[in-house]
């Protein structure tokens, strides 16, 4: 237990250094602000040209909040899984990590924690920009804080463990390592209805979306911030799910992700050691 906590802490510190020390603090701050704000502005202008400047439609807040929180998906999921690619291919350090007194499973989660920190900066900036410049200002007193905190925490944990699953796949594959993560994030962006209600998609895509826990995570966060009634009125394709049901699905899927990630990563690790893949450098 002590070793797990130490691995987590050291990896989170290392991850933060890698994420932030490539430049001066000012440039890092600019980078942290520009990327998420520009992503949000794309949606804002897409909305603006159609709505002629009317920001009062609750659909806008629904789109905006979903986009802001989706930043976590790319960052945490890929932050955990891409550690394998970075440490093995780029820095050539994975083999040293494996021979050091550290638990790699927790090391990966720790690296994901560092990404969570940088993503949190981006999410807060995006939400603050929405509140200040665009009027996406959830009422502080009507926000469902317990729902927000529980949904956010459980969802982030779930993303971390899903990242471990992806890391396992990357550990035993030689090619397309960068692309696999992007493909997963891209598919989730579409299927989970990060920036639109899933009800606008064809039925078969809606069912695919309903099979992914992140869809419920985003729905829970939107309900917590914007109000359950308002979100349900938009007929997003999830209006028949009560908030406790959404929480239950989220909890269940996170527990499943924990169990699967432990078993699957162990299997991948053993296979990688057998095949000599831990220090593989493909230059692919």
């Amino acid at each position: 237990m002590h070793e797990s906590a130490r691995s987590l802490k050291v990896a989170a510190w290392l991850g933060w250094q890698i994420e932030s020390n490539w430049t001066e603090p000012f440039l890092f701050l600019t980078y942290s602000i520009l990327k998420p704000v520009a992503s949000a502005l794309i949606l804002v202008f897409m909305y603006l040209v159609i709505s002629q400047g009317n920001f009062n439609n609750p659909l806008f807040a629904y789109i905006y909040v979903g986009n802001a929180f989706f930043i976590y998906v790319g960052a945490v999921l890929l932050g955990v899984s891409n550690t394998i690619v970075d440490d093995r291919e780029h820095y050539g350090m994975l083999k040293y990590i494996y021979v050091s007194p550290i638990q790699v499973y927790f090391y990966l989660l720790g690296r994901g924690m560092a990404k969570t920190m940088t993503a949190t900066i981006a999410v807060v900036i995006t939400l603050a920009f929405g509140a200040i410049a665009l009027g996406v200002r959830p009422d502080f007193f009507t926000i469902d804080w317990p729902l927000l905190i529980i949904t956010l925490t459980v969802g982030l944990a779930g993303l971390g463990f899903m990242g471990i699953l992806l890391a396992g796949i990357l550990l035993i594959t030689a090619r397309h390592n960068d692309i696999v993560g992007e493909a997963v994030a891209g598919a989730l962006y579409l299927l989970c209805g990060a920036v639109f209600p899933i009800s606008v998609m064809p039925d078969w895509l809606q069912w695919a979306g309903r099979a992914i826990p992140i869809t419920y995570w985003l729905e829970g966060l939107r309900r917590a911030l914007l109000g359950t009634e308002l979100v349900q009125k938009l007929h997003t394709g999830l209006e028949d799910f009560s908030t406790p049901t959404i929480l239950l699905i989220l909890l269940g899927s996170t527990l499943l992700a924990i169990l699967l990630s432990i078993g699957f990563y162990r299997w991948c690790e053993r296979r990688a050691k057998e095949k000599g893949l831990i220090d593989m450098q493909t230059m692919y």
């Binding site: 490539w22 990327k35 520009a38 202008f45 040209v49």
Partner: protein
């Protein structure tokens, strides 16, 4: 001159042959942008927008392939070469560096065009978008000038990035979403207002995309400048960017040599 052309072809060769050797890249190259394009199309559908906006997104989505190619396979290319230890071999080779950059650009342009065309065709089929070309010769000229200017900009970036270490990756990453926004990849650039649009036009794809949209979706009426004006500006940009890239390459190479940054790896 022959050596110059041979270098161009020699550097373009791995990029052209790469399409043959690793066909899965083509699948990912089409599949990945289509996911993003589809998401943006569904936003417009949720907003009940006029159908031409779906066309805007698909054309913009196809053009993202070029911008990504310029960022990741032109601008950061010398950084990757430095990391893999190839850069010093390039610099020792008895040939023009400009020819190497042009080869990279030519190879990248051809392979990316296959991807962009596939995105355009598949996207149009999935979302039933019909394009009506007003003038083929203008469309071809706009595309050619946009590409020359864009890859000229890529060559300029490539020489600037010669000095960078890890920040090259982050800076390329930083030039994605902000340029998607400023160049109006998913919405008409005109909506940004006159002066912001003028500023954003420093990236050739901004005017190129706007002109192409006017030429293939004439009913949309969202053009920023007239096609002729945009053509003229793109022509000037093509000449200027290639010339400046040439000068910058000489300067940055000398600077990198003096500061000993050409062989630093894992920075």
């Amino acid at each position: 001159m022959i050596l110059f052309l041979r270098t161009v072809l020699g550097r373009a060769y791995p990029r052209l042959i790469g399409i043959q050797r690793e066909k899965s890249w083509l699948i990912f190259g089409v599949f990945l942008p289509l996911l993003g394009v589809s998401a943006y199309v569904f936003i417009y559908k949720a907003l009940k927008s006029p159908p031409e906006f779906v066309g805007f997104v698909i054309l913009g989505g196809a053009m993202t392939a070029y911008w990504l190619n310029v960022l990741w396979s032109m601008a950061t290319q010398f950084y990757w070469e430095k990391e893999t230890g190839n850069l010093q071999l390039y610099l020792m080779a008895p040939t023009s560096r400009m020819a190497i950059l042009m080869g990279m650009a030519f190879g990248g342009l051809v392979s990316t065009s296959i991807r962009a065309a596939a995105i355009l065709i598949v996207g149009s089929l999935i979302f039933s978008v019909h394009f009506t070309v007003v003038s083929w010769w203008q469309l071809i000229l706009v595309f050619l000038f946009t590409m020359v200017a864009l890859y000229g900009l890529g060559m300029l970036f490539s020489s600037l990035f010669l000095l960078f270490g890890r920040e090259a990756w982050h800076l390329s990453s930083l030039l994605q979403e902000p340029i998607y926004f400023l160049s109006g990849f998913y919405f008409p650039i005109k909506s940004l207002g006159y002066w912001v649009s003028i500023g954003a036009s420093i990236v050739p794809i901004t005017l190129g995309l706007d002109a192409m949209r006017q030429l293939v979706m004439p009913s949309a009426k969202w053009g920023f400048l007239s096609v002729d004006e945009e053509l003229g500006i793109l022509l000037v940009m093509s000449i200027v960017f290639v010339f400046v890239a040439h000068r910058a390459l000489l300067y940055m190479e000398n600077l990198a040599r003096r500061e000993g940054r050409l062989t630093i790896r894992g920075q």
